[in-house]
């Protein structure tokens, strides 16, 4: 009875069809036993040129896609001027944003004992650079000491999967790090969690925010821990 064993038929091919001309135009390359040069000259020419354009255009498209993802630009004059304008706008925007976040976090850490300065001028309206897709970042701090958190993200970091490693002391020393920090996806954005252990040494702790996909820096996270 074992002679009637059912076996799987031999597959017609064991490798993917990798010739796009064969796939698209049904133009098979020289088959087994056939002279490679037997194809008419005009077929070889047109197929080779089509193939060449396909390869180089795919390459250029891939390069453009990667360049856009990395935000890579050269040192051209236009790029430099654009950089300066963007940098100025970003600095102004970040400064006003950062002060606001600092104040809110200080207030949180001090149990609402801090009041905003009466004469605090509203943040100057700044023409925002071309805004990336909107993304909401929530910051959750668990600390028994006064703590300020500054998250400085590149504009193109919105919507990316981010991660942050343990924060190092800003003075460059080898003292205690601030290890319990994370960035996790949250509804419509992300949540930055910072936990400062009790009696943690006062000081400023910094770390890079990394884009998980490209592994490129996407910003910085800075935490100032006050004296208990």
């Amino acid at each position: 009875m074992w002679n009637d064993r059912i076996t799987r038929p031999e597959p017609e091919r064991t490798q993917p069809i990798r010739s796009w001309t064969q796939t698209l135009f049904g133009m098979p390359p020289p088959a087994n036993g056939e002279r490679a040069s037997a194809a008419p000259l005009e077929d070889v020419v047109s197929r080779s040129v089509e193939l060449g354009y396909r390869v180089v255009d795919d390459y250029l498209r891939e390069g453009q896609r990667v360049a856009e993802r990395f935000g890579g630009r050269g040192f051209g004059a236009d790029a430099l001027v654009g950089d300066m304008q963007q940098l100025t706008a970003r600095m102004a925007r970040y400064t006003s944003d950062v002060f606001e976040v600092w104040f809110q976090l200080l207030q949180l850490a001090m149990g609402g004992r801090v009041r905003p300065p009466e004469n605090a001028a509203p943040a100057a309206p700044v023409a925002a650079p071309e805004a990336p897709a909107a993304s909401r970042i929530r910051i959750a701090v668990d600390a028994s000491q006064p703590t300020e958190v500054v998250l400085d993200l590149r504009p193109d970091a919105a919507g990316r999967r981010l991660l942050v490693h343990a924060l190092r002391p800003a003075d460059g020393g080898e003292g205690a790090r601030l290890g319990d920090v994370s960035i996790e996806p949250d509804a419509g954005g992300a949540v930055v969690r910072v936990r400062v252990p009790p009696r943690h040494p006062a000081g400023v702790y910094n770390g890079l925010v990394i884009d998980e996909e490209t592994t490129c820096p996407a910003g910085t996270l800075s935490v100032r821990v006050g004296v208990p």
Binding site: S19, A31, R35, A36, S48, V55, V56, G63
Partner: protein, 341 residues
């Protein structure tokens, strides 16, 4: 001087580059195991295609020879660095008619010499700062980094094919590898850099990728053909060396497709062996099979087609420029790369 527009400018710009190159090849310590050897490959000669294309492109767009000379020297130094490293990686025996550097002095010394040539190439680009300014120098360094990255990526692909005994390759795989491994540093980079130096503007540098790809691919296929069917005295490298090294050339890719089932099995076994385990009789068998199936003729036809596309891309890039010896040189290159013996 030659009346051929290509040979005439190769002579002229090659000579100018060689003179400037001397500044970087002067004897100094440590001499015996480094700087004497750094000068070895550059002094063996060479066509000077890359520096000449760079200078000609710069001049065609309005620059002077002097503007492009540091970049031309850098190209030649980087080219020689790649040759030293490639010879080690390919286990090649001969280069420009003489034993390869690692065959003469051992792999560790040769790798270090290659490293030194790369650094000298970077130095040459930096030395152009006084003439070209900070921004263009930075752009040239950026372009050099891109070129080197593309080249090592292409080399990695080809080495991987040999290491893993890839036998299911298609022509597009070969062309994509050649685009990175050969075209970027042979034709794309010299053209882009020449344009950048002359115009001080990035413009649309991607246009030079298309032109450089078709020109460089035709050049590489013709080089592979010469490796099998060239004039042994003029070729300079080991004739048939690509077969000994198991390189996946267009001829081998088309042969793997055209061969009968039995021949293919034997061919795959041959390709799977390391170079030192390959026998002369097997190399002769593969070579005869290439003739049997017309793979050399097929590769020549593909090279001609790609050279035609290069000429088409040339028209799009250079048509608006005034006539000049440099423009005629570039126009003649697609035909010239095919006429090399």
């Amino acid at each position: 001087m030659s009346t051929d527009p290509v040979l005439a400018l190769l002579d002229e710009y090659g000579a100018a580059t060689r003179v400037a190159l001397c500044d970087y090849l002067r004897p100094r310590a440590p001499h015996r195991h480094l700087y004497a050897l750094v000068a070895d490959y550059p002094r063996r000669g060479g066509r000077m295609l890359r520096p000449s294309l760079c200078i000609a492109t710069a001049r065609a767009f309005g620059a002077t020879v002097e503007d492009a000379l540091h970049a031309a020297v850098a190209l030649e130094l980087l080219h020689n660095a790649f040759l030293v490293h490639d010879d080690v990686e390919d286990e090649s025996d001969a280069r420009r008619g003489l034993p390869t550097l690692h065959a003469l002095h051992g792999v560790p010394v040769a790798v270090n010499v290659g490293d030194a040539l790369i650094l000298l190439g970077v130095r040459a680009l930096i030395d152009g700062h006084g003439r070209l300014g900070t921004r263009i120098t930075m752009r040239l360094l950026e372009e050099a980094e891109r070129m080197a990255r593309e080249s090592v990526e292409g080399q990695a692909v080809e080495l991987g094919w040999r290491r893993d005994n890839a036998v299911g390759l298609a022509e597009e795989d070969y062309l994509a590898m050649v685009l990175k491994k050969t075209c970027w540093y042979t034709t794309i980079f010299p053209s882009r850099v020449g344009h950048l130096i002359a115009t001080r503007s990035d413009g649309d540098l991607d246009r030079f990728v298309r032109f450089g790809f078709f020109l460089g691919a035709a050049f590489q296929i013709q080089d592979d053909v010469l490796n099998l069917a060239g004039d042994a005295r003029r070729y300079g490298k080991e004739l048939g060396g690509d077969l000994w090294e198991g390189k996946r050339t267009l001829m081998i890719i088309s042969l793997l497709r055209a061969a009968s089932a039995d021949e293919r099995i034997r061919l795959e076994r041959f390709l799977a062996r390391p170079r030192r385990a390959r026998r002369a009789a097997d190399v002769r068998w593969v070579r005869s099979l290439i003739d049997t199936y017309g793979c050399l003729d097929y590769a020549r036809r593909v090279a001609h087609a790609l050279a035609g596309a290069a000429r088409h891309e040339y028209e799009a890039l250079y048509a608006s420029l005034p006539d000049s010896p440099d423009k005629r040189f570039i126009a003649a290159l697609p035909s010239w790369v095919l006429s090399r013996a």
